[in-house]
Symmetry: C2
Subunit: 232 residues, 2 copies
Amino acid sequence: MQESTATTPPADASDSYAPTDRTVPTRSPERASYDREFVHSILDAGYLCHLGFVRDGAPIVLPTLYGRVGESLYVHGSTGSRPLRSAGRTEEAPGIEVCLTVTHVDGLVLARSAFHHSLNYRSVVVLGTARPVVDEKERRIALDALVEQVVPGRAADSRPANAKELAATAVLRLDLDEVSAKVRTGGPNDEAEDIGLPYWTGVVPLTQGHGAPIPADDLDPAIALPDYLATR
Amino acid sequence: MQESTATTPPADASDSYAPTDRTVPTRSPERASYDREFVHSILDAGYLCHLGFVRDGAPIVLPTLYGRVGESLYVHGSTGSRPLRSAGRTEEAPGIEVCLTVTHVDGLVLARSAFHHSLNYRSVVVLGTARPVVDEKERRIALDALVEQVVPGRAADSRPANAKELAATAVLRLDLDEVSAKVRTGGPNDEAEDIGLPYWTGVVPLTQGHGAPIPADDLDPAIALPDYLATR
């Protein structure tokens, strides 16, 4: 997992996603960004998303992995899972309307007033229709991307899916089209009249890391920890 | 932020949420738990949820804070924000149908086959109708809970919301009723025929921590770091 570091959206928005009614926030619009590179950087810093869809009129939100390839995100799952089943399995299938959200929390913002407590964070919301990927070549690209998103270097150092596994796996593609990022950085924004209050105020930066990799019980001891894990 | 440690659901399910059609997973049902204490432990180990709702027929998923008080979760936001506005502001308001999901990722599971790669995780999904909280006493309890969920000890060490701030803040309550947890622990589950493959296999445990708290520029240097931050 990449280190979590706060970033400011680039000022140059020449290569941006077009805002829509749904991606312009009603609150804190100054925190919104549509910059393509900034969106990519947030997506590339993670691998877990929360995928929302509607079932029988009600919202469902499930955590799942994603992989980015250019301007597309891929998610996958068992062909038996409900959202993937409802998306259909052919090129002509209607797909499923989703909201895919990725969030990194960078710090706890402790203001003097409870009201101004906040988080520093970076998030991306992608809206659109996720469609089943039928072409085998694209399916393999997607599955590699899902593994690479979690551990870069791993796709080439594991056994690729065989025909049976491919048949059991549904892959959906969601194109990056209706997309927005939101970011908060910096310290607390206390009211002027609160400055003299006797409370500690500032930011607690959050970090993510990992412990020593734990080999499986049946790992051949002659197999060394690969570089892509040793150097993390 | 609490340390991320993998936990197994308690075997004793005598005090459990009743499963429903919507909370029994179609996939990996052995990972599901309805145990009340286990659900609470997952909720209490975090403070950020992904809240899903339906707007104009489409799913929306936004990251937001939550606080647990007994069998209720509270979320809050500006009275101007779209989901909170659509929930209404009176006791008679219909509320808004939501799915509130909390996920902790505990480890990366690297199998010999790409197919069996996985995550160790704990997640909770809460379904139901979030209703506006009108009673001022309950609103204050909720706002304290939201602060305490992020930094235990902080609510009593900050200025409580004043009347203007309270009026600008909408609070929703979602009761813990239709609830499920899902958990994966342990090592990779490779196919027997893959055991001899020359790939490292095991688990990379993930950790969360924090850096040294960064005082605000205008903090009175005489105000020491509080114990609830110093001992984290």
